[in-house]
């Protein structure tokens, strides 16, 4: 809670004192309990969170290995695997030829036989060339073999829109993988999420799809000492309430959590207290937390970057309508990306994605029966 204000403050302020003052003021204004900072707050980028998690899991278990394009000599296409080749050698960090189908199949085969691969895709868009292995070979095998063959594999890589990379590099796959039984699908937001959930994913005996976000790699988050402990993991399937509120529930995952938090701050100025849920896990979806929150606020807005039809928001809506229908005071609003392949031109790209916080704020206000126009002004 203080972290959210801190993040907002860090983003814009130049002077420390004015930052601290504004922080204190905003905390008092929003009625939150004023807590003093823990003095040992560490700053951790998402990239370092991933790198340290991989490093520690590879040190702890010699069966874990990393495979993918450019993960070794190049230090990782996004430098996530930096230093791992030097530390663990070419047996544990494998650079591959350009064949997603090949190295995914190989990783699955290695997992069949008892190793624990971490397969990196340069982006999940390229994983479509290997999706047969992810679904038919990894997700279904434990079931279809009658429990004889387990597949302790992790598929990770950037997912969703980046900046100016057009349609074949910008698709969000959360909904597609989230619909497949046999897979666990994770989409973290903060460094704490990335670190704890990657460790949990590597330790998990089931196949896990770990959806990262390219634009988040460089983002810094404060983390406690507990997060930096080598045994720190987060449970898969539990969402996190990033910010408590009582008027409207906003669910989001990955980068959109940041926007939802900013939207919550905007709404707070209008006296609307929004509860922001960071889903963390797409499959299993933490329906209990979402429903409990809706039963408290009576209103729901789901936020995602992906396409609207059959999206994550659609599943959340269905779940809430099934379980908490009587509690809803307003129709559920889904904020999603536009139903088009991602355009390249910067202005078009901006329009194709949920627009910063304005869309979220507008949807939340609509849920709270404030007068707002239905669609964005052109």
């Amino acid at each position: 809670m203080w972290a959210t204000s801190a993040r907002r403050a860090i983003a814009g302020q130049s002077s420390v004192t004015s930052w601290l003052t504004q922080l204190r003021n905003s905390m008092i204004k929003s009625g939150e309990k004023v807590r003093s900072f823990s003095s040992g707050s560490n700053q951790l980028t998402v990239r370092d969170a991933l790198n340290s998690a991989l490093d520690e899991e590879m040190s702890a278990d010699s069966r874990v290995f990393v495979i993918g394009e450019e993960v070794g000599e190049y230090q990782g296409a996004y430098k996530v695997t930096k230093g791992l080749l030097q530390k663990f050698g070419p047996d544990r960090v494998l650079d591959t030829p350009i064949t997603e189908a090949g190295f995914t199949g190989l990783g699955v085969g290695a997992a069949f036989y008892g190793l624990k691969p971490v397969v990196e895709f340069m982006t999940f868009n390229f994983a479509m060339q290997a999706i047969d292995h992810i679904i038919n070979s990894a997700a279904k095998t434990y079931y279809m073999s009658g429990g004889q063959i387990s597949v302790p594999i992790v598929f990770r890589g950037p997912n969703g829109a980046a900046a100016g990379v057009a349609a074949q590099h910008s698709q969000c796959f959360a909904a597609w993988y989230g619909s497949c039984p046999g897979l666990k699908v994770i989409s973290p937001y903060s460094s704490e999420d990335y670190r704890g959930l990657l460790k949990a994913a590597i330790r998990d005996p089931d196949p896990v799809v770990f959806l990262e976000n390219e634009l988040m790699y460089g983002e810094t988050f404060p983390v406690s000492d507990e997060v930096l402990d080598s045994n720190f993991t987060l449970p898969i399937g539990k969402a996190k309430i990033e910010r408590e509120g009582k008027d409207v529930t906003i669910t989001a995952f990955s980068k959109m959590v940041g926007y939802a938090l900013k939207a919550a701050d905007e709404l707070a100025k209008d006296g609307i207290s929004a509860e922001v849920i960071n889903l963390r896990s797409i499959r299993p979806l933490d329906r209990a937390t979402i429903n409990a929150s809706v039963r408290k606020t009576y209103r729901l807005v789901t936020v995602e970057e992906g396409w609207p039809q059959h999206g994550v928001g659609a599943e959340i809506s269905a779940s809430v309508v099934e379980e908490s229908f009587e509690y809803l005071d307003a129709p559920i609003d889904r904020i999603t990306g536009a139903d088009v392949p991602m355009p390249y031109a910067a202005n078009l790209e901006r329009l194709a994605l949920p627009q910063q916080v304005e869309d979220i704020v507008r949807a939340a206000k609509r849920a709270c029966y404030r007068q707002v126009p239905q669609s964005a002004a052109a």
Partner: protein, 490 residues
């Protein structure tokens, strides 16, 4: 003069290039040949070598056109370190020093010539004739009578099982079956050459390999009937066998995916330094899949100990070889990946055994993949869902079925050695038949897998949503017991 400058540039290119023999950086690296050099190029005519030795630095021995100069023996000429006082000014052409990173052993040419689409002939290895007699000059593999008889008995049992299960499907006892008629020798003899530690990744027509490993008739029947004793817990179609204890990975329907899996498993075996390899079976059709290319390439790059055994039986459902690929066979494809291969007569059990045994030891000791093309013929229909008379001639089918039966061929060899006779054959056939029918009756009478097996093994531990769904189903069953099938336990 321009030539000398070019020669100088070539020299420095040579120092940097990988063609240069010594990896260590010597101070003076003038390429001079000493007359005391041993004959490192015995394949070249001696006149050439003499010319080579007598010449001071000259990239091209006189009398040989620069167009066809082979760069491969340049390193031999650079082993001394004597300085050359002066560079010669003739016969030097820097175009011969090919140091592009993409190719190691080749030379420039000034002939505009394309590489032919026809590959070098790959001979087909065979030791027994069609009549089961050793071919002239053949060196038969060491095979004791016990092993030979075990192979034969497996092949017969396999044939009988295939026949009876096919009929059972026709009678509606289970929904699907695939026989391996015509390919028994290819499958059983290759499996016999492996050790039980080798992990098998099969396609779907290799029940003979699983049978060899010790999967018994009753277990086959349970899988096909999808009953409660099925190791797959009733989740797979018939013939999608799998058995962890027999090191046989569960059959997966998508074609050729098992090839990359096998490479992955081979990588694990290599990392564990086990005396075992991964073995993957696939058909001619699978060589068209992207996974074939990826797996072959990857296995070669990673030096993984994996055997790629291709049952080239001429047909992929209704697609004949001529529509499947334009190379001449499958064994020839491995060269493109830098992989060793062999083409074997798949209807000659002894040849298959010998080739696979040899390939296996190469794969493990040298940590390399090997492609084994086993030529055979698919006498069976593709599956019970197929009627192959629609796309191939009856004469072709009956020729292979009657005249080229691999089991009969092996039997002739056994009889020739005095290890087998007609009477034993009849006994074996009827004994197998009785056992299989008993297994089928037993499997048929067993209950189907219980309701709980619907929800387990999706994940390592059952998630809450599935527990809920299971309890909903049980409530519904409790309310309407008459609507629930009686042979499915709760």
């Amino acid at each position: 003069m321009a030539l000398i400058r070019r020669a100088g540039r070539s020299l420095s290119m040579l120092k940097r290039s990988s063609l240069f023999h010594g990896k260590q950086k010597k101070q003076r690296q003038q390429p001079i040949v000493s007359p005391s050099l041993p004959n490192l190029t015995p394949h070249l005519p001696s006149s050439l070598i003499r010319l080579q030795i007598n010449t001071t630095y000259s990239a091209i021995p006189r009398g040989i056109s620069s167009c066809s100069f082979r760069s491969s023996y340049i390193p031999n000429r650079l082993l001394t370190s004597e300085a050359q006082p002066k560079l010669p000014d003739e016969g030097i052409d820097d175009t011969q020093f090919l140091d592009f990173p993409g190719v190691k052993n080749t030379a420039f040419t000034c002939d505009l010539k394309f590489v032919s689409e026809k590959s070098e002939e790959v001979p087909c290895y065979r030791v027994l004739s069609e009549l089961g007699e050793p071919v002239d000059g053949a060196k038969l593999p060491q095979m004791a009578d016990a092993l030979a008889l075990r192979i034969y008995e497996n092949m017969i049992t396999l044939q009988v099982m295939d026949y009876l299960f096919y009929e059972a499907q026709r009678q509606g006892r289970f929904s699907f079956y695939m026989t391996c008629s015509g390919e028994e020798a290819a499958i059983v003899a290759s499996a016999a050459a492996l050790s039980n530690e080798d992990v098998i990744f099969a396609q779907y027509r290799e029940q003979g390999a699983l049978m060899w490993r010790g999967f018994d008739l009753q277990e086959f029947a349970h899988q096909c009937y999808s009953n409660s004793a099925d190791y797959g817990k009733g989740r797979q179609m018939p013939i999608h066998y799998g058995s962890k204890k027999h090191n046989f990975v569960t059959i997966s329907s998508p074609i050729a995916t098992q090839l990359s899996h096998a490479v992955g498993a081979a990588y694990s075996l290599k990392m564990d330094r086990k005396d075992a390899c991964a073995v993957t079976y696939f058909g001619d059709g699978a060589t068209s899949e992207g996974d074939f290319h990826a797996a072959m390439n990857f296995a070669a790059v990673m030096e993984a100990p994996v055997l790629f055994i291709c049952r080239n039986n001429g047909w992929a459902i209704s697609t004949p070889i001529t529509d499947q690929y334009r190379s001449d066979g499958v064994a020839t494809k491995s060269r493109a990946y830098g992989m060793r291969s062999i083409c074997v007569d798949g209807n000659d059990a002894l040849a298959v055994y010998s080739a696979v045994k040899s390939a296996r030891s190469m794969a493990i000791s040298e940590s390399r993949p090997i492609l084994i093309e086993v030529l055979t013929y698919r006498v069976s229909h593709h599956s019970t869902s197929d009627d192959s008379t629609k796309y191939r001639s009856g004469e072709e089918l009956s020729h292979w079925k009657v005249m080229r039966d691999p089991v009969v061929r092996f039997r002739r060899w056994l009889e020739g050695n005095g290890w087998w006779n007609r009477q034993k054959d009849t006994e074996l056939q009827s004994h197998s038949r009785k056992k299989i029918i008993a297994a089928m009756m037993n499997a048929e009478s067993m209950k189907k897998p219980p309701l709980s097996d619907l929800f387990t093994d999706v994940y390592d531990s059952i998630p809450t949503n599935l527990k809920e769904q299971e309890s909903y189903v049980r409530e519904a069953v409790a309310k309407n017991p008459n609507l629930y099938p009686s042979d499915v336990p709760l």
